[in-house]
Symmetry: C2
Subunit: 243 residues, 2 copies
């Protein structure tokens, strides 16, 4: 049965400060929860209308349809909501291609970018401290479980850039990604949805890359940042297999 | 001043059947509205808190901040909301690369795909009749004005496929897009977010293409459809300039 304390805990975890204090986050829906259950994430509570989760013993809380609706953040609640511990991030492997986001705001975009890292085998994602929290429930839902396979650190980006030779920025005024030599390692940085990469970070970059437009009438200003990540990761990884 | 009739009209245009009956749609925010004003779309009404639009004479309706909030569908209303006429779609040019979506559900995805067509110079987008309406307000907002440069038709996909030789489908079991010869024209089809391309359409396809996964642990099932469109259009268009 859902107690008042459960309810209060779930509500609090919608806010970053409580997630950070308690080192807990929420995952929802059969698919996403299963991804975390299959991984090394430590389960704290699992709330469900279904018997499928009863073997989690004291961690399992049976809820009614109405209770699930009440605690769910989704438009249509889907069977299960779970609370997991936020793990300590692992050490970054600077000898590989690393993705970084600078002041990224939109949780849906960050989630999609985590999923893209997973797909393209990018193991480390660095977020500037000003970026949206990767344990925000909307990020969790749009990443669809890819958190389990991507190591995410919130760090000072300028300091990280000192540790690599190839500091690559996705900008609107760079060289065509199709015509440029692409290094197999380094940090590839994407900026904020409206303002791009911050000036301080931009100053440290030694390779600016752009996805060229193909439309005849060049009125469109930019691609959505997650789409830009998709195209650039595709190009970096394609080159790595064709070398 | 905002009248009851204006309010009723705007409310009705949130529903597909009224948009189709009245052949009208809503665009919001300075940037998006400006894109439509710069294009051949015919303005019907422009509601704004700002004097910037007073030269639209009888089409201009000054509204208060509260009135704008009331009519806006956005989380934070942005200065202006306009109603435009839905134009008749133009004839499709089957001698070029055409994008098609089969039963696409999510308005944000369709909007992003329209923006990608614009970026990559794909002039024709065909939507199966079961796909989300491209004049849905959420599609308009996420396409950010790219409607003005992409010709969108709602048609029976199977019939369209009869008109081209290259019927290309994005599937999870196809040949690697990186290793395949890609034709410079034909129809490139993307399916529904959960179920992919429908069986009837799949039967007509003569080239199945897949974006290969690079991650070592291959647990991630699929990419978001808009990201898959981004990667595939990038690959088709890159080849066209490198040929």
């Amino acid at each position: 049965m859902l107690t008042k304390n459960h309810y209060r805990l779930i509500q609090s975890l919608n806010q970053k400060k409580y997630r950070q204090n308690q080192k807990l986050f929420i995952a929802e829906g059969v698919k996403v929860v299963q991804e975390f259950l299959n991984s090394k994430y430590e389960l704290v509570y699992i709330f469900s209308i279904s018997d499928n989760y009863v073997n989690f013993d004291h961690k399992f809380v049976r809820v009614s349809n109405n209770e699930l609706k009440k605690i769910s953040l989704m438009i249509s609640a889907n069977e299960v909501l779970a609370i997991f511990k936020i793990p300590e991030p692992k050490k970054i492997d600077y000898s590989e291609l690393i993705l970084a986001v600078d002041s990224l705001n939109n949780p849906g975009n960050l989630g999609t970018i985590i999923r893209l890292c997973d797909w393209y085998g990018v193991k480390d994602l660095i977020c500037s401290k000003s970026s949206v929290d990767c344990y925000n429930p909307k990020v969790i839902q749009s990443a669809m479980g890819s958190h389990a396979r991507v190591n995410i650190n919130y760090l000072n980006l300028e300091s990280c850039l000192k540790l690599v030779n190839n500091k690559i920025g996705a900008t609107l005024d760079g060289n065509s990604i199709y015509g440029s030599d692409l290094p197999s390692k380094g940090i590839l940085i994407f900026g904020n949805e409206s303002n791009g990469i911050t000036t301080q970070v931009l100053e440290k970059i030694n390779l600016r890359l752009t996805i060229p437009r193909f439309g005849e009438i060049k009125q469109i200003e930019s691609l959505n940042v997650a789409n830009a990540v998709a195209v650039m990761l595709s190009e970096f990884k394609r080159r790595s297999i064709e070398k």
